[in-house]
């Protein structure tokens, strides 16, 4: 297994995967507790429009994709704040139209078009070193943001009404959060691809939520779990010559299934066994 690490591309892939795990652990936690998974999916698929734009205009991947995704994300954020009941639909529209734009723009781009699959399914094995540095900076930015605004983000996620009463700048923070989410998604698309980025954002936090006692613990746990999935997935893809991104997500999926079954069994067994009353200070 370790002979794989003699290859630079493998080492880069590992670093990329680990960075992605931490970024997704933090942002994924916020996505799951705020129930904005669909919005995240919208951003991911709309990002394809940005990819198409980048190629059509000859811009570097990050510039075009980030710009487009960020704009789409801000629109979706505004809609989800102003017209909550219509947000689903609008997100769905942007999701589809963004993707269609990307495909058409790529059709219109003359010359050799990069393999579309690499963006759909990720190309962790071809991540250049420059991108690793960018991921590190983005990761640091996200971590810094979350640490500085931790209490506010916690309040907004748990009880928005109370946060408003305490004077928390809800709109500003929400838009900042969605903006960072767009950046996260664009970064991670390179690792596991557009189609699978949602899995990396949601599976680890979902598994950890039940056992975490704080948002911080949930973020740590998700990052760790994501790292484990990434390492296992990379090893599997190396050993059996499989697509890396999909391998990572498959490992995550199997772990999730296993977790779900075990959790269900333990919970149901506990219910069927003798009832044990918990401490209760009710006065008579």
């Amino acid at each position: 297994m370790f002979d794989a690490l003699q290859y630079e591309f493998m080492r880069n892939a590992l670093v990329a995967g680990l960075l992605a795990s931490v970024i997704c652990g933090i942002m994924g936690t916020l996505v799951v507790v705020n129930r904005i998974v669909f919005l995240s999916g919208g951003i991911a698929h709309a990002a394809y429009g940005g990819i198409g734009l980048s190629f059509f205009l000859g811009w570097p991947y990050l510039v075009g994709t980030l710009g487009f995704s960020f704009t789409a994300a801000m629109v979706m954020a505004a809609v989800s704040l102003k017209a909550k009941h219509r947000a689903d639909t609008i997100i769905g529209v942007i999701w589809a139209v963004g993707m269609a734009c990307g495909i058409i723009l790529l059709d219109l781009t003359p010359g050799y078009n990069v393999d579309l699959m690499s963006y759909l399914f990720g190309s962790i094995l071809t991540v250049p070193q420059a991108d690793l540095w960018i991921m590190l900076i983005v990761g640091a930015l996200i971590a810094g943001f979350v640490i500085y605004f931790y209490k506010d983000l916690l309040a907004i996620s748990y009880d928005e009404e109370f946060a408003r009463i305490r004077g928390v700048p809800i709109r500003a923070l929400y838009f900042a959060l969605i903006g960072l989410l767009a950046v996260t998604i664009v970064m991670v698309i390179q690792v596991v691809g557009l189609i699978l980025v949602i899995a990396l954002l949601t599976i680890p936090p979902f598994m950890v939520e039940k056992y975490a006692k704080s948002l911080f613990q949930m973020m740590m746990g998700s990052s760790l779990l994501g790292a484990v999935f990434t390492i296992c997935g990379l090893w599997l893809s190396y050993a059996f010559d499989l697509t890396s991104g999909a391998s990572i997500v498959l490992v995550a999926g199997i772990a999730f299934l296993f977790f779900f079954l075990v959790d269900h069994l333990i919970v149901s067994r506990r219910h069927n066994s003798k009832y044990v009353p918990t401490a209760n200070p009710k006065r008579s």
Binding site: V33, I147, Y148, F149, Y150, K151, D152, L154, A155, S157, Y158, D159, E161, F162, A163, R164, I165, R166, G167, V168, P169, E209, K210, A212, K213, S214, L215, F216, Q217, M218, T278, A279, N280, P281, K282, R283
Partner: protein, 259 residues
């Protein structure tokens, strides 16, 4: 002389062309313990939201300690109605209480030791200190309610607003709850929105009836007339408020001294 904490003057509010509150005025003074009763849709929760600055009146003013409601929400400790949302959220009771210490001015991830001690003290006062480190989903409805009250109290508010706090608590729990409020009332002004006519009438000091308009009765007894106005009997035998108290229909007695 009692200070006026909340001054609501001639407030009108409505949306979608419907008037929800019509020329509502109310003075909440220090030491008050007001019960706000009225039918659903009558404007009680709307009035609370106006007091908290979450809504703006179409006309009239709401002042809290002299400042406009929008800028003074930190003077109010608010306990909302819904105790069941977000039960699976990864958060402990003490962290919920610490949320009350939120102030945009001071920002750092870790709360100070003093904040934490304060939070534990308030939880102790609400008799749920044993659950400080438990996840909120593990507590019962009544315990959760106390944690939310603790959160409101830790903000050191001038007035405590509770919106139907006993909606999901059994009668024994309700009585216990109002005893607790009476105890709290020694230090803090309280306004409770509630439908528990029996429970509140024995503990509160005055009653505000809200049904588009507001009438503040500076007496604790809820009379038959008040009830007729708030919850009118439209049909014989299908009265929405069925209170039988010692043979006197629709009269809720203040004392039950073995009569």
């Amino acid at each position: 002389m009692q200070d006026t904490i909340v001054e609501i003057k001639n407030v009108w509010f409505g949306y979608n062309g419907q008037t929800v509150l019509q020329d509502v005025s109310l003075d909440i003074r220090q030491g008050d313990f007001i019960a706000m009763i009225g039918p659903n849709g009558g404007g009680k929760t709307t009035l609370l939201k106006l007091m908290l600055g979450l809504l703006k009146p179409a006309s009239g003013s709401i002042r809290i300690l002299g400042s406009a409601a929008q800028n003074a929400s930190h003077h109010i400790g608010y306990v909302s109605q819904d105790v069941h949302i977000n039960r699976s959220f990864p958060i402990t009771a003490v962290d919920i209480v610490l949320m009350g210490k939120l102030e945009p001015a001071k920002r750092w991830a870790r709360s100070s030791a003093r904040d934490r001690r304060e939070a534990l003290e308030v939880l102790e006062r609400m008799e749920v200190a044993a659950y400080a480190s438990s996840k909120i989903g593990e507590l019962s409805g009544g315990q959760r309610q106390r944690v939310f009250i603790a959160r409101a109290l830790v903000t050191q508010p001038k007035v405590l607003l509770l919106d139907e706090p006993t909606a999901s608590i059994d009668p024994k729990g309700q009585a216990e709850f109002y005893r607790l409020l009476k105890e709290l009332n020694k230090d803090i002004t309280i306004l409770v929105v509630s439908h528990d006519l029996v429970a509140i009438s024995t503990h509160v000091k005055s009653v505000a009836c809200v049904n588009k308009r507001l009438h503040h009765h500076h007496q604790a007894e809820i009379t038959g007339e008040m009830l007729e106005e708030m919850y009118p009997c439209v049909e014989e035998g299908t009265c929405p408020v069925e209170l039988v108290a010692h043979g006197l229909p629709h009269r809720v007695l203040k004392y039950h001294k073995g009569q």
